[in-house]
Symmetry: C2
Subunit: 479 residues, 2 copies
């Protein structure tokens, strides 16, 4: 299959140039494309369909935990944006500004939302009067814009899609509980549904969301040893409540500020999906988010009509239960199709040829391992469901093994430096809690504190200054 070989060559091997491999996969699997707008990508149908599965699953989990959806304006008047001091300082350099509407020069310019705490705060201050109005548990699915200098498809783009949850509570404890509950929703979604292992923990002060009291995060490790923040949940305390005057009359007759959280996960998770599971042949998709879970390729060199008819029968059987694609295009050879669908990450390939027909079986090839087996026609659906489950857990196990092999317990700074400049990965090390050490490590190695993982004992000494450690920190170079 010469065309097939040529075809696969079009993707730069992952081991040779990870960055180029990533872009090749994004473009050639038709997940996304560059647009004529600087820093903005187009989500092509194959990529957007994956996002739709993610949205549906997350939305279900949000509603299960009592949340409802709403929609707030895209534009934020500059005055509102400036009300929370830390927040505006954090986001200002990244804001796109609308200054003209039609022929009219605007009196006050409008920020294209980089996030919606401020405009939502204005509404909450109007809607919330009494303790009976609490909690407010609202989520929004929308686009946001952050003016970025260096961009990369999905991972960092000027416009991206996300959801942002914004909740108000009567007590500090309730808000804290909500922030942690939503981090757990994210962890479970990313680990169980996307088969991506993550490290949950708290951000250091330097890495916190602008305006938050505490930021919780889940951090994944990509195939090149760099970390990617996969979702964050913020305990906002009363910072925005004070700036936007969100008060309620409590049962005791006192006027009090609400306690708030916000939390978000974005289309950058599509980047994680590619970088964690992909291989030299291209994309590898976990079955729950695969637009096609199974591709069926008739091997029609001989007895063409019979094979095609049988393939269509199998297709009709399978489509009731799976997202299955029958590739009966006459203009491409089976070999070309194998490579094409592997590049697109379809979890299982079914081949039906004359020998399969004769033996009343199909040939099944797993995308994750390349393993080839034959499966009897009788009970085919159950066998395939079982195999898809195996693919899914194998993907998780492989990614977990990779992360474990690339997580280094380090206690001196030379060793730290060697790892970051060599194999990279996560570095587990003690940290004294001082911003000066965090900053110097960042300046000297490019590694940042990804998180302070929950429930772990900390070492004795800070990896940089040797002083008393107060935390175990996960360091990495990150996207």
């Amino acid at each position: 299959m010469p065309e097939g070989k040529e075809f696969v060559k079009a993707i730069t091997p992952k081991s040779m140039d990870f960055s180029q491999w990533y872009v090749d996969v994004v473009l050639k699997a038709e997940l996304a494309d560059y647009s004529p707008v600087k820093g903005c990508i187009v989500f092509r149908p194959y990529g957007y369909t994956i996002w739709e599965f993610m949205q549906a699953e997350l939305d279900r989990r949000f509603k299960e935990t009592g949340h409802v959806n709403a929609y707030f304006p895209l534009f934020v008047p500059e005055g509102f944006f400036r009300k929370e001091a830390e927040h505006v300082a954090g986001f200002s350099p990244q804001v796109a500004w609308v200054t003209k509407g039609g022929d009219e020069e605007l009196g006050e310019r409008l920020a294209v939302r980089p996030t919606s705490e401020t405009v939502i705060g204005v509404m909450y201050s109007k809607w919330i009067q009494s303790y009976r109005d609490l909690p407010v548990l609202i989520n929004q699915w929308c686009n946001v814009v952050r003016w970025e200098k260096a961009t990369r498809p999905f991972i960092r783009t000027t416009e991206f899609l996300w959801q942002e949850g914004h909740t108000c509570h009567r007590t500090e404890a309730e808000a804290e509980e909500e922030a942690q509950r939503m981090l757990e929703v994210y962890r479970s979604f990313v680990e169980d549904y996307l088969a991506i292992p993550v490290v949950p923990g708290e951000k250091s002060a330097g890495e916190r969301f602008a305006g938050a009291v505490r930021t919780y995060t889940i951090e994944g490790l990509m195939g090149d040893g760099r970390a990617l923040q996969c979702g964050t949940s913020h305990f906002l305390g009363q910072n925005f409540a004070r700036s936007f005057n969100i008060q309620f009359l409590d049962e005791d007759g006192q006027l009090k500020y609400v306690w708030q959280t916000s939390w978000g996960i974005s289309t950058r998770i599509l980047g994680a999906l590619i970088m964690v599971h992909g291989d030299d042949r291209g994309l590898v998709l976990p079955p729950p988010v695969a637009p096609h879970q199974i591709v069926l390729v008739p091997i029609t060199a001989r007895s063409g009509e019979q094979v095609l008819a049988a393939s269509r029968q199998v297709y009709d059987r399978l489509r009731v239960r799976f997202r299955v694609k029958l590739d009966d295009r006459p203009e491409f050879s089976p070999g070309w199709k194998f490579n094409d669908w592997e590049m697109r990450g379809v979890p299982l390939r079914l081949e039906i040829g004359p020998r399969d027909l004769a033996a009343d079986q199909v040939t099944v090839v797993r995308r994750d391992s390349g393993e080839r087996s034959t499966v009897p026609m009788a009970g085919l659906e159950d066998s395939l469901a079982h195999l898809l489950g195996e693919v899914h857990s194998a993907l998780y196990k492989r990614a977990l093994a990779f992360r474990e092999a690339n997580t280094h317990r380090v206690s001196d700074f030379d060793h730290f430096r060697t790892i970051i400049e060599g194999p990279r990965g996560f570095i587990e090390a003690g940290w004294c809690g001082e911003e000066s050490c965090e900053t110097r490590i960042k300046e000297e190695t490019g590694a940042t504190i990804r998180c302070l993982p929950f429930g772990r004992e900390h070492p004795e000494e800070c990896v940089l200054c040797g002083g008393q450690a107060r935390h175990l920190a996960y360091f990495a170079r990150a996207y």
Copy 2:
């Protein structure tokens, strides 16, 4: 129930001031709220949930007809926007412009998309090479911005939500068929799912989408006799294909321009839902889009505990099959709750009191007619499903009867004027096809041609000039 009565008074009666009634319903039923951004509303959870049901149903119908979703950038560089001459002339006065990103003054300003034909055209010219790449059947769910001077919640807002389909075809006939197919999807969605009767037809040249060859529309009649365009589908011909150079190599070896369509339906349909079905007591929702299809109110004046326990049992039975709300708030009287849920448009109210318990029945009140009946506990689910179906078809019939009573066959212009200045509604009349007559009618009466309905015989004479009529036209004052 004195609070109850007071409560209902808070809505201006529909017959007294339709506009104020509309705004009262939007705000008090918590469908939407004004935002601090001029011309932009907030979709509150109750209103957004209705939009979610509409989205899910439309999305299902789009996918059934072979379409896939994608996502294109929010921003359109001015140069692309200017490539189709009619298009830019039509939309320029309404565009919001981004001129600054972070601290950087932009070299070329960016339009916030008012619609996406141009940016999508750029991508299609890149993606489409061969006849094998056709048809392209892509839809996008997104926000758009049109700078409006006078706004009204849902009906006309600076930012709104919609879907826009953009398709490319090999032949003119295929594109024409697609444009009509999607109009039919809209018609069936609006009539069958939202119970809103519409008149399908073609727009006159003066009312066409900027850049289209033909625009098809479905037009509804609101409770005040004004028309509302509920969805449009455009046959674009090769206008954008030529401007954006979208060409394909056909099977015959010739390079050809594609034939295109675009079609959209927006959150303004929420306005139609309110204005077609609502009454003096507030919102009336068709069961398929009601966030709560049934509200259950325990009547707990006496034997409170028993009634509450029974209500919870009924609630647990019904929630398996319906979207049901149990309103057991102790701080409000049953009467207050009745009025509150009527105002919010819940199709059926169930009351469970001591007498109902004793008789092993529930009392059911229909929102549409106010009709009260008792239903035995045995087979309750089926009885309610049947009743919901009846409510739905009664809503459609009532709206259709209203439209028929307010559609006037007119042959002279004085009569035309009397109707537009009096009861309003649709005017069916002959039109010669000249823009001059269309314009004069608009200037003198404020009525526009809503559509030239499909498959209808036209009268002899133009209602204005008395010349040979070429069309039957539907005229109305419109939102």
